[in-house]
């Protein structure tokens, strides 16, 4: 019988049925961070339980670490240092590999896992973090869980799962200039809702997906959780293997025939299928307080729930472009990799951000991304334009109680969540691609990045 990529990985990992009718699924990798992983490690120690195979469990400090240069264990989050020191001690006790605050390879969990070759095609990988779906870009089954489940996975090497349904989302055709993977995923969520993927594993496919580089594929899969899917995934191809070859924890050669079978059979049937014309996608920007409240940057705000209009301070019928902003943020596991920084820097080269922008930050996804960007001189472009250049971490992707702005401030952000209060009490967040963030920072208002690009073409 024809199988989907998901079916194949599921069958490969099915250890045994449980008496209750679920399946014990083997977990190949667990990745923790100090925010939610500490709770799992703590409970495990309290219960006198042990990690089954510590060599396959990793942890990183990324969520509440300071991102200002010269950082240590201090953090702006109240009580935050305890999370860092407790996680460090618990990792040592449990014998698991930790990427510590100032380690060479520190970075956001979903950025460093592929960088280190920890995620691989065909593996199961879990982390107590909803954006674990990012790593599905490598053809792995990678999904977010809670802290109790993380403890379960570490102790038993498995999780108890009901088999999810499958969905294929095809992006046919080619993206136009200035349109990115971020705009693809926002288009899907805007069209099918923040609950549109519930109960499903989503496989992304089609010409526009194959054309994406690995970093852009991660951006696409990153927001599968904003679609309420269990996870997103993309079948591995030559680009995937090329990206991973030679990475620290990856095999040196991907020559086992098993790798070649990691694709959905041509006649495989998905429980649901969605097709999107990639050539019709425009740069997107959110207007409200859910990722589904997103429109083309050239569009007009529709009538949404009253609470969303009230919180965001924008009325239906207004054009989104031209909305003044106070803060610009480039970072997060959605858009903080080297290609994201390169594209934003292209727009910012030789430009200054508008004087009305109170804060503009670039936070690279990992210290390795940071080094690469510095080798290319990108940091000079950002700082000359008026952005601050930071160490790696989650930073302003969410508000941990430290660094923040006055309530009512409006941000344009390359992150994934525009929830009420996500970036701080009363903060109004507009999510978009790094290009749109860069272009908007120059103007001081939400701006179509294609205008900035046309402008660039004109002067050069």
């Amino acid at each position: 019988m024809a199988k989907t990529l998901f079916d194949k990985i599921w069958e490969m990992h099915a250890v045994a049925p449980t008496p209750g009718g679920a399946t014990l699924i083997a977990v190949d990798r667990v990745f923790l961070h100090e925010r939610t992983g500490a709770a799992a490690l703590k409970r495990m120690a309290e219960m006198g339980r042990k990690v089954r195979d510590p060599a396959r469990v990793f942890a990183v400090m990324d969520h509440i670490v300071d991102t200002r240069p010269g950082r240590g264990d201090g953090t702006l989050m109240q009580g935050g240092t305890g999370f860092i020191t407790e996680t460090r001690a618990a990792c040592r006790d449990a014998g698991i590999t930790l990427f510590d605050v100032n380690d060479r390879d520190q970075g956001i969990v979903h950025v460093i896992s592929p960088e280190q070759g920890i995620v691989l095609p065909g593996l199961t990988l879990v982390a107590p973090d909803s954006h674990t779906c990012t790593q599905g870009a490598f053809g792995a089954l990678a999904w977010g869980i809670g802290s109790s489940e993380a403890e379960h996975a570490m102790v038993t090497g498995t999780l108890r799962l009901e088999k999810p349904k499958t969905m294929q989302v095809r992006f046919d055709g080619k993206l136009s200039e200035g349109v990115t993977a971020k705009d693809m995923i926002l288009t899907l969520i805007a069209a099918h809702g923040a609950g549109g993927g519930a109960g499903h594993v989503v496989e992304f496919a089609g010409e526009a997906v194959s054309a994406l580089d690995m970093e852009a594929r991660m951006t696409l899969c990153n927001m599968a959780t904003e679609f309420s899917a269990m996870t997103g995934m993309i079948a591995p191809d030559a680009k995937t293997y090329e990206f991973l070859s030679g990475r620290t924890y990856a095999p040196t050669k991907f020559d086992d025939p098993a790798w070649a079978d990691l694709i959905s059979d041509t006649d495989a049937v998905f429980d649901e299928e969605i097709t999107i014309d990639a050539s019709a996608i425009a740069p997107m920007v959110s207007w409200g307080t859910s990722p589904e409240q997103t429109i083309a940057v050239t569009g007009t705000i529709p009538q949404g729930p009253a609470q969303a209009h009230e919180y965001i301070g924008l009325n239906a019928g207004t054009a989104i472009a031209g909305t003044p902003i106070d803060v610009a943020f480039i970072g997060s596991c959605t858009n903080s990799r080297i290609s994201d920084l390169r594209r934003a820097a292209r727009i910012l080269r030789g430009k200054r951000i508008a004087p009305s922008i109170k804060t503009a930050l670039v936070v690279p996804g990992s210290l390795s991304v940071k080094r690469q960007a510095e080798a290319e001189g990108l940091h000079d472009i950002f700082t000359a334009a008026g952005f601050e250049w930071r160490m790696s971490g989650c930073s302003l992707c969410f508000y941990a109680g430290g660094e923040g702005f006055a309530p009512g401030s409006r941000t344009i952000s390359s992150t994934n969540r525009n929830f009420e209060g996500r970036q701080g009490p009363g903060i109004r967040t507009h999510i978009a691609s790094p290009e749109t963030v860069a272009a908007s920072a120059i103007v001081g208002a939400i701006t179509d990045p294609r205008d900035a690009m046309a402008d660039k073409a004109g002067v050069s």
């Binding site: 209750g20 014990l24 396959r56 305890g82 809670g146 038993t156 095999p251 729930p305 969410f398 969540r417």
Partner: protein, 202 residues
């Protein structure tokens, strides 16, 4: 974990919005230690307090209203518990005393976290939820029914989740009963997929 009661009767507090996220249920700044307790105070802080720092209550917020202060059942719209995987959201609700949430749909990670912590997540159509508000509502887990608004409504729950809630089982203990199966599966897998198994951590 304490088993779910045979029948649960309570006022049902309506929080009838879609997409209520875990950042709202427990904001990150309210998660002040690596433990699982002390979270109820920060539950729904952005809505529940007019001034969250001073803990000055917003009298409009449903759980601050006398009729719902001790409600153990919450009602909500679609995609409840979306966003961050933080289990702290469920720990906060459980500590406050919430035992069941009836919503149009749930975000998957939140749904799993509920089961692991003794909270029963029930999915029902929106018109049924509107019809049973504001309670009293009675939930019979073994019969899989919700009685409220003068009618009885059947709900679905998978067999394993039902059993875990009814008996208050710990998932890890349960899985360890299949430890031998896991061990022999792993041995065979080690031979089939050697690259999965990394050298001992440094």
């Amino acid at each position: 974990m304490t088993p779910f009661p045979n029948t649960l009767t309570s006022a049902a507090a309506p929080l009838m919005r879609d997409n209520i996220d875990t950042d709202t249920i427990i904001p990150s700044r309210e998660m002040r230690s690596t433990g699982r307790d002390g979270l109820a105070d920060g539950m729904f802080a952005p809505w529940r307090y007019d001034d969250a720092d001073a803990r000055i209550e917003n009298p409009q917020f449903v759980l601050n209203q006398p009729a719902f202060r001790s409600a153990t059942i919450l009602l909500s719209g679609a995609n409840f518990g979306c966003g961050s995987s933080r289990e702290h959201a469920v720990w906060a609700l459980a500590e406050w005393g919430i035992k069941a949430i009836i919503a149009e749909s749930f975000a998957p990670i939140f749904h799993g976290n509920c089961i692991r912590n003794g909270i029963l997540p029930i999915t029902l159509p929106r018109d049924v939820i509107d019809g049973i508000a504001p309670g009293p509502v009675t939930i019979d887990l073994s019969a899989q029914s919700v009685i409220g608004g003068g009618a009885s409504h059947a709900f679905d729950i998978d067999a394993e989740a039902k059993q875990m809630l009814m008996k208050g089982l710990d998932a890890i203990d349960l899985t360890m009963e299949q430890d031998r199966a896991i061990g022999s599966w792993t041995m065979a897998d080690r031979a089939a997929r050697p690259w999965v198994y990394l050298a001992k951590a440094g």
